[in-house]
């Protein structure tokens, strides 16, 4: 069971030595209880107290790391079942499955899509993070597949899906420096599997025919003192997989049973049976609820655009609004005669406004000053979106050299700022835009004299 801040305080030396970085032992204890700091930050605990505490203050769900350098990913470490209770922590990751049963053309096409889908959205890199390499029976083809992906220049971590220990050993030799995931140990081979991954501390995927058997398998693996684990939620049916995903997460976080305190793996490619849109639907479901590593059949833009957007939304910290970088964004290829619009850096506002400007087909510059990440009226009320903020942004952003047009359109909701801005920017014509973004296309087209 979790310990309260007071329980933990009783075990501290109560000397307020401040070495842990907190002013008092009490403050430190409270933070430990909230999961904000590791108990090991205090170097004056007795061994007894330490053992007692590390057991009960360890996170309920383990963080599992794989990959190396720019391919490194973390999964797990979740603390709540609903994101509004605090936040979801480590976003789910997507893998694309390649196997030795596929033709070279199929493999090449999937690799080409993985290379093609690589973009940045609100400061986050959007791409397939993992290549899941499945051994189906042809050892030579499998090893050459591993080599092929390695030589492809893809920025991916590896997941070796290979139940055959001897083949796995050879494949592992090829990519062990990249710290791959090894999948999947079952009740028959887990001892050999653990022996194979233990030294490198590679994450090991476990699979079993039922949740009860999976639970027993985890206990057996833990007895070998191995805890870098991922749990397969099964591919018999979507219903069973979803039930297992919920039960695993709930057992860890609500029942506080660390046996299931590991990230999950879901083979959506198998559940969707080759139906692309079903794959999108199921991958969305498991992004919403408790899928950590989602294996796909392929990742083209039709799949990526909704799935990466959804993931970015769901893994946003509810306490911190999503913000876009303050700068000038060109929309519809603006030139040196295009007008300038201004709005705030709250990501939702930016998306709605930029979408409507795009829809108008009028080339324009959309300026986003640093407005604290709030909506227009909130930012204005907080003084973060004032006449001086906007004027300063116009002067310092270099927009005056990008366009000769001196029309500056401000949101209708802050019409009151017009005078202020006009005083600071006498060369500009400050125009009050519509109250709602949806009226922008008509407004811009009328202003530019287009029908």
């Amino acid at each position: 069971m979790a310990m309260s801040g007071l329980d933990i305080y009783k075990l501290t030396p109560k000397t307020n030595c401040k070495e842990c970085g907190f002013p008092t032992c009490m403050a430190f204890a409270m933070k430990v209880a909230a999961g904000g700091v590791e108990i090991s930050k205090c170097s004056h605990m007795s061994d007894d107290a330490m053992a007692k505490l590390s057991e009960s203050t360890a996170p309920l769900m383990k963080v599992v790391t794989f990959g190396k350098g720019e391919t490194e990913c973390k999964l797990g470490g979740e603390i709540v079942l609903f994101r509004h209770e605090k936040t979801f922590v480590n976003r789910n990751r997507f893998a694309v499955l390649l196997s030795d049963a596929m033709s070279q053309e199929q493999i090449d096409a999937k690799i080409a899509n993985m290379k093609n889908v690589d973009y940045v959205r609100i400061g986050e890199e959007m791409r397939v993070e993992i290549a899941a390499l499945q051994y189906v029976g042809n050892k030579d083809a499998y090893l050459s597949l591993v080599n092929k992906v390695k030589a492809s220049g893809l920025k991916v971590a590896y997941m070796l899906v290979c139940p055959d220990i001897s083949v796995l050993k050879e494949a592992l030799e090829l990519v062990k420096d990249e710290l791959p995931i090894v999948f999947g140990a079952d009740s028959n081979n887990y001892q050999e599997m653990v022996a194979l991954v233990k030294d490198l501390k590679l994450p090991l995927g476990l699979k079993a025919p039922s949740l009860a058997e999976l639970y027993d398998l985890v206990e057996n693996v833990q007895k070998l003192d191995y805890k870098e684990l991922l749990l397969d939620i099964g591919s018999a049916s979507a219903r069973e997989a979803f039930t297992n995903a919920v039960q695993i997460r709930r057992t860890a976080l609500k029942e506080q049973d660390r046996t299931f305190g590991y990230p999950s793996v879901v083979f959506v490619n198998e559940l969707a049976k080759g139906d692309k849109f079903m794959e999108v639907a199921l991958a969305s479901l498991f992004t919403m609820k408790y899928g950590s590593l989602i294996v796909m059949d392929d990742m083209d833009y039709a799949r990526a655009l909704p799935l990466f957007g959804l993931r970015q939304n769901i893994y946003t910290d509810p306490q911190k609004p999503m913000r876009v970088e303050p700068e000038f964004y060109p929309i519809n290829n603006p030139g040196d005669n295009s007008p300038v619009l201004i709005t705030v850096d709250f990501a939702l506002t930016y998306f709605v406004v930029s979408g409507e400007v795009e829809r108008s087909k009028v080339p324009a510059w959309l300026g986003i000053p640093d407005a604290g990440g709030y909506s227009v009226l909130t930012a204005w009320a907080a003084g973060k979106f004032s006449g001086s903020v906007i004027a300063k942004f116009i002067k310092e952003s270099g927009i005056e050299s990008k366009t000769k047009c001196r029309k500056l359109i401000i949101p209708g909701k802050v019409a009151v700022l017009k005078g202020d801005i006009q005083d600071s920017l006498p060369d500009w014509e400050v125009i009050i835009g519509p109250d709602e973004a949806m009226h922008l296309p008509k407004f811009l087209r009328t202003m530019e004299g287009i029908n």
Binding site: A212, D216, A238, R239, S284, A302, P306
Partner: protein
């Protein structure tokens, strides 16, 4: 130690509500658990899927969609019949885009006549969607409700500015159902439900439309709002939040650039129709995953996918 299934029992449940009449009557709600959590209890009537049609030719719809409906889309009544026969959704959502004062501004009498013709031509329950101009919708819903008396349709939606007329005319006078629309905020949703209750309209006649967003466009607010509504409805037995939820997914997903950008404008993104379906399917699956009881979709392929998705999870 052996694994033990973790079961969460809730004291509250979602109201049962019926739309339409006769053999095609549609049941919504009835569950006392989160979506697909059959290990906890009763999952209720399940999710219902509607297809969107318009009162005018869908000039602005994607070409792929226009070619699916072909000439049927030129006549709304034919369009409704074609949709019912060919795609068999659970309900049809007739949206009066042509009544928009900023567009064709068709009269409410004309709209109501059309609604009646559609209602007489199909057996499926109807959901009538307005223009999102609350003054026009107030008159539109009042007139349509009168013409379709006895058909037990859903008026999508009453908002804070017009709920008095829409709920009173729709439910009290003509015995239809009303959707209470709020903008992605649990407190606003609750407040509007209470205000409608004060008109002597019972919870069994109200569906919530708590607002939506396409995935990638602030969908986290939609997800957390519905999560919180359901935790209050089920966990705290809050009667003012125990109505089923309908989400007009298609109204938003087809407008964002992922769906609207042509292959010419974004060649690297590939087939526009596939992107549109994927955005619609992903948003629908996600909103169903948090608890929406009904979704309005536009592409028949999306409806087919979501139907199969529901079957897979049954």
């Amino acid at each position: 130690m052996a694994f033990k299934t973790s079961v969460q029992k809730y004291s509250g449940s979602i109201y049962n509500l019926e739309l339409g009449t006769g053999e095609n009557t549609l049941a919504l709600g009835g569950q006392n658990v989160f979506p697909f959590y059959s290990f906890d209890g009763d999952t209720g009537s399940g999710v219902k899927i509607g297809l969107e049609i318009l009162d005018i030719y869908p000039e602005n719809w994607a070409d792929g969609l226009k070619s699916i409906y072909g000439s049927a889309a030129e006549n709304t009544v034919e369009w409704a019949k074609y949709t019912e026969e060919k795609f068999a959704p659970d309900f049809i959502c007739l949206r009066f885009e042509g009544a928009d004062p900023n567009g064709l501004n068709k009269s409410v009498e004309e709209c109501a006549t059309l609604a009646k013709k559609v209602a007489n031509a199909v057996k499926l329950p109807l959901v009538i969607a307005g223009t999102q101009n609350y003054e026009k919708d107030l008159k539109l819903f009042e007139k349509v409700a009168e013409e379709l008396e006895g058909k037990n349709i859903l008026l999508l939606s009453a908002v804070e500015d017009n709920y008095k007329t829409v709920a009173a005319a729709g439910v009290t006078a003509y015995k239809h159902k009303v959707a209470a629309e709020s903008s992605v905020d649990i407190n606003l949703a609750k407040q509007l439900n209470i205000l409608i209750n004060q008109l002597e309209v019972k919870n069994e006649n109200i569906i919530m439309n708590v607002g939506t967003a396409p995935v990638g466009y602030g969908f986290e607010y939609v997800a957390s709002t519905i999560d919180r509504i359901r935790l209050a409805a089920l966990g705290q037995n809050d009667k003012t939040l125990q109505m089923p939820i309908i989400t007009p997914v298609s109204f938003d997903t087809w407008n964002v650039k992922e769906s609207a950008s042509t292959e010419e404008d974004s060649p690297e993104w590939g087939c526009q129709e596939e992107r549109g379906i994927a955005m619609e399917v992903s948003t629908a699956a996600s909103v169903i995953a948090v608890g929406s009881d009904a979704v309005v979709l536009r592409h028949p392929r999306s409806a087919e996918t979501i139907r199969a998705f529901m079957d897979n999870l049954k």
